[in-house]
Symmetry: D3
Subunit: 158 residues, 6 copies
């Protein structure tokens, strides 16, 4: 048997309990997971790439299967460079599905061998996203049920 | 029996016949309605909060059940302050549903007792939104079937 | 203030924790709720109308606001007879939305004054339905997280 | 590393190129795949369980990773018996998503450790299903782009 | 310029104002329309094919562009026989879209040249379907806003 | 028979194989097609209107039915000016449907006689859009399966 590796790409701005749930589920299937922070974004992020990597490190400390990286450019180029052809994504709702299928389909067009594997998060995380966390944090709301303690600390220190 | 109060939050930039339809429907169920203009927005609004409140006042003049307010910050904080735990929302289409359910779910997470009650607008208003009105107004199009006369006057005076 | 009454119609074959969640939410808004078992159905039900009413009685015992009834024929005719013009429905997912909007729209066409008010169940009940319960029960599966104890007893006694 | 096994349950009435596409994709991730024909069905199938297993055998001949089985009753009971906790499913369209999420959510409720992993078929198979094949076959239409040759032979011999 | 002909296939059990709306819209684009009653159906229809054709004739009397036919078997075989390669369909809602796209995609697979052209009905007919009409008629409800007078007469005479 | 003309409006920033597929399909139904580049846009385009018209000209060279134009302002005003009342749109996915139905419904409200006719693109273009092309081009990815050669040349020369 070969070692099975998958890449979980995202903005993780910031990491939420929803992301951690997907990582835990993917960890049952794969031997190694590379959680990769996408460093380019049209819109201004809340946290820098360094802060986002830092929060991921804190949240995933002790998880031997997981490695945290960053990447820039096209996901397919990054996959080729890493010699990994499996992508992990969480599917929450219908709007997710269409967006995720579009990305997955285009990735297949650009890189024939790539496979996207979808996981369903816990139902209580169905409506959780980083952007919801940012909105609540913006108004000083309580995000303790949505993100790990270290992220809360980081939000408060801003 | 207690007085039943509900809050109808929104940008109302500007108020449309669709909003008025939801207010009329909610008025059959609730004794008092607080229509609350959300004063913060990432994107630049067409009308100032004052103008939006003004247009709501004109459109709802004579409706004894309705009070018009403004609020800033998290809806749940505003609800707590007002001691109201019912939110009114209109549901037009599928894309609405996912967005509205996300908001409602997050509000419940932040404030356990809050209940969101959804109404279905008249079918002819299914595809009507403030942003459609703004787009048409931008190009000088006729919005007389979409918004009340006072709003048309306000649009023309710009 | 008038007494606010609403009707919650359904097959309730059998009642689930999802239905009870909607009843609890509607109870915050309405003074009286009539839970009405629809007695006609194209497909053969699992439980007789009497058994379904019996299970509702058991599950809602002590709830002073709720009255349990049965009806046959068109919902709008029943609403007219009861002099009630508010219908309660739970909205779980997209497929629900289209079906529920169709019913609500047709009801409005048949009876102008009827208003359907939608509630969102707890997220953990998003995918729960009577038909799921029947399927699991058919194969002797454990439905204790899905329905009240009295329903389990009824299922086992078959 | 442990051997990774997954179960791909379905009616396979009959197997289509869409199913084979999902099996091929899952084969990149898992060491062993058990394709399991669900033997109970409310509606009358086109092919007997034996014929469906036979067609799967023909279509998957030579694929060392795949084992073909049949099961009856609840999927979670079968998973427990097989000591497998990963289920494979293809996701084609929105209507699939809600149905599949409902099944996956209920399976989690019944058996905490079960994980459903979703794959996206080739786009050309987005609208392909066994029921479409049965409908076309019923009227003597050409299904050679939809199912393997052995299935065509079986259809013709009826 | 060639004469443009299109086929509008359906069960029309019975014809509704929604169907007539689609026919009127298609009539703006096409020179000739063949409204074709599909004579086979898994489920028992309310009206016989003869009655459905009869109701279409009554509803479309005087419309010079329209011809009413019946067909059995695969739509693509019928299209080939008629030497018509354009199919008309109404799109009401999301659930329609997936079903219609599946049919259109399979038809293309079976008959390369076939083109399906979709029209959007009047918004007030968004939730109208023959099955809704049958349900209301079953309980003696008023369908006068949903179907033409001749259909009402036919329903009453049953 | 009258000449049947339709307008296919869009941003075409840039033209993709998906657009060309819709044009080819519409060409089977209509005698003349006006492909109209919408010159106003809230967001900054990748290509100027001149470049977009230029790329359309290159891609549609030799197609006698097609005329390429530009327009500004409301689509309904442009339609009235051109004395054309048929609009062509491609429908890819659910999210498209709601957006397109909103536009079509508002256009009907503003200009009673306008009819929007929807076509379904080839399945392989289901997830293709100009914005996907721009994203890939931004990172220097290969778009040769998504747009015509002249567009690739234009992208490279930037």
């Amino acid at each position: 048997m070969k070692i099975k590796t998958a890449i979980y790409p995202g903005s993780f701005d910031p990491i939420t309990f929803g992301h951690l749930d997907i990582i835990r589920r993917a960890g049952k299937i794969f031997d190694r997971l590379i959680v990769s922070v996408f460093t380019h974004s049209a819109k201004k992020p809340m946290f820098t790439v360094e802060e986002r990597v830092d929060m991921l490190r804190s949240a995933l400390k002790g998880n031997k299967k997981v490695k945290i990286e960053r990447f820039e450019g096209l996901l397919v180029d990054y996959l080729r460079k890493k010699k990994v052809n499996v992508v992990i994504r969480g599917l929450r709702a219908i709007s997710d599905l269409e967006y995720e299928f579009q990305i997955a389909a285009i990735n297949r067009t650009l890189y024939g061998g790539v496979e996207t594997v979808f996981f369903m998060p816990r139902q209580r995380y169905t409506y959780l996203s980083s952007s919801v966390v940012r909105d609540i944090a913006h108004f000083g709301g309580d995000v303790s049920k949505l993100v790990p303690p270290y992220v809360i600390k980081k939000i408060k220190s801003r």
